[in-house]
């Protein structure tokens, strides 16, 4: 799914100031929007590092959060486009289903954890365990990712324009991992794969959608599952 097309006049965004309005009130309004709502453009002020800002959205709306957020921002997102003009705490866009989440700053650990779909773009760096147990989401990180990113990932694409920390793709089921920079080490059962035309097209499309211009698709290498942990080997029985 592409970024949500903007409807209505962006200059006429409805503003919710979290220094004056409670998070619960914000969510009651956003969750109450119908599928054909015309109130599609929102601006949230003063998040002040609060947890769970703009979570559980399920409408074709565009939300800009002006400032840093705490845990689980834009979690469980469906269809909505959420832009965080700041840093995000742990678990940003965790369990996202569809839509798009963009973090203009850095994201802490477990960005995009368990997410099933949609596109998560992190303009800065992501911390440890980025894309842990991802189940179909596409994640594009313009900076670097921390250790154990894409741990137990099952489906989707993780694109890292910078470097990757230790144990990248540990215990990977499936999912493609594209890294342009240095991989400190690969985790168990993660290996480099040849990049074919199909993978290159997937990568290019993600770079385009994320608006990445500073890193060329040719700079990336592809990593994936060696599929050696899929089955139990009886030769290993003595190890247990």
């Amino acid at each position: 799914m592409n970024a949500v097309p903007m409807r209505g006049d962006p200059a006429a965004r409805e503003i919710v100031d979290l220094s004056a309005t409670s998070l619960r009130e914000l969510h009651q309004v956003l969750h109450g929007l119908g599928p054909d709502t015309n109130r599609t453009a929102w601006r949230v002020l003063n998040p002040q590092g609060r947890h769970a800002v703009a979570v559980g959205l399920d409408a074709l709306i565009d939300v800009i959060v002006e400032g840093h957020v705490g845990y689980y921002a834009a979690g469980m997102n469906a269809r909505a486009s959420v832009t965080i003009n700041g840093n995000a705490g742990p678990g940003v866009a965790e369990n996202m289903m569809s839509g798009m989440v963009r973090v203009r700053g850095d994201a802490s650990m477990a960005a995009g954890a368990t997410a099933h779909g949609g596109l998560l773009v992190i303009d800065g760096n992501a911390g440890a365990r980025c894309g842990i147990s991802m189940k179909g989401v596409d994640i594009v990180v313009q900076g670097s990712v921390g250790h154990m990113s894409a741990f137990m990932a099952q489906e989707g694409n993780l694109v890292v324009c910078g470097d990757a920390g230790e144990a990248l793709g540990d215990s990977l089921y499936e999912a493609r991992i594209f890294v342009a920079g240095v991989v400190k080490s690969l985790g168990a059962d993660c290996e480099e794969k040849p990049m074919g035309e199909a993978e290159r097209a997937i990568l290019q499309r993600l770079l385009d959608r994320a608006g990445v211009t500073k890193t060329d698709a040719a700079a990336f290498r592809l990593y994936g599952s060696a599929r050696r942990l899929y089955h139990f080997y009886v030769d290993n029985a003595n190890a247990y």
């Binding site: 002040q48 590092g49 609060r50 840093h68 705490g70 845990y71 840093n87 705490g89 742990p90 700053g105 850095d106 802490s108 650990m109 911390g127 440890a128 921390g146 250790h147």
Partner: protein, 296 residues
């Protein structure tokens, strides 16, 4: 869980506000640690003096009893159930010995030329108010809100832990080899007051620094010797250090400006700091020693 806050000033402008700022940061961390709260404030030293922070016993009678036994002039400022005892630094040994005799029920919570250390069971705002934290001034401060995992909810189990002069440590996490390390350190002469894992981390660093290592080297060594989950924030007379274990599941956010370095378990603890909008905000990396030192 547990919440940690810390503030290390690089310039004197905010020194008179450090208590208020620390109290505000602690209050935001209430839901990370509602059991107990503690803090250490490094205030200006008094000339040729040493400060003992004490807990327990009859404070009203204590100055006279200590003076009678040691012949040394002492001052005592009572703050709720703690008291700050100021003595000539030449009298440290005499005072420790005398205290054990004239008031054996009194515990030394911490000692140093700059460090004062207060802690208690209760919500952060209540504990801060009891000890008058908002009115305190100093060069650096470290605070902790505790959600107990490894030992009982008591004042003794609250952080920070101090195991050396002007040294204190707060911890979010849990150590898995603390009993082994404690046994080894006890053989080396280190004294522990509780069964708490975090006190072992403090004692470990004190032991290292006692052998002449600077704080950053001691923290580096901790990476290989201490097993478990931890984010530590450590204070010394003139230094401030941060260390996270390899897994780094205990959160940490730092902010740095021309005027200060601040630590919070979460960013929201930092939002009221002056100039935070212009600060460099970053997440300390796992297994990397962060250390700031000020000129004495």
């Amino acid at each position: 869980m547990c919440g940690i806050v810390g503030l290390f000033l690089k310039t004197p402008e905010l020194e008179s506000q450090i208590g208020r700022l620390t109290a505000e940061m602690l209050a935001v961390m209430t839901d990370r640690g509602p059991d107990s709260t503690g803090f250490a404030v490094y205030s200006q030293p008094r000339p040729a003096s040493l400060k003992f922070t004490l807990r327990g016993g009859d404070f009203a009678a204590l100055p006279a009893r200590l003076a009678a036994r040691t012949g040394v002039d002492v001052t005592l400022d009572v703050r709720d159930d703690h008291a700050l005892l100021t003595v000539p630094c030449t009298a440290e040994g005499d005072i420790r010995a005398a205290l054990a005799v004239v008031s054996p029920e009194t515990l030394i919570v911490g000692a140093g030329t700059r460090m004062e250390l207060y802690k208690g069971v209760g919500l952060p705002a209540a504990v801060s108010a009891r000890f008058g934290l908002p009115g305190m001034s100093g060069t650096h401060a470290i605070g902790h809100t505790r959600m107990a995992t490894e030992s009982a909810v008591t004042t003794a189990g609250a952080h920070p832990f101090s195991t050396g002069l002007d040294q204190c440590l707060v911890h979010n996490g849990s150590l898995s080899n603390h009993n082994n390390i404690r046994r080894a350190l006890v053989r080396e002469g280190q004294v522990f007051e509780t069964a708490n894992d975090s006190e072992v981390a403090a004692g470990y660093l004190s032991w290292r620094m006692g052998r002449g290592e600077p704080l950053d080297q001691a923290l580096q060594a901790a990476l290989s010797d201490l097993d478990g989950f931890y984010t530590f924030v450590v204070g010394t007379e003139s230094g401030f250090g941060v260390l996270r274990d390899a897994v780094a599941c205990k959160p940490a956010v730092m902010a740095e400006t021309e005027d200060y370095v601040a630590f919070g378990s979460e960013y929201r603890a930092l939002t009221k700091l002056p100039g935070i909008a212009q600060a460099r905000i970053f997440e300390p990396e796992p297994q990397r020693v962060y250390f700031w030192e000020r000129a004495a």
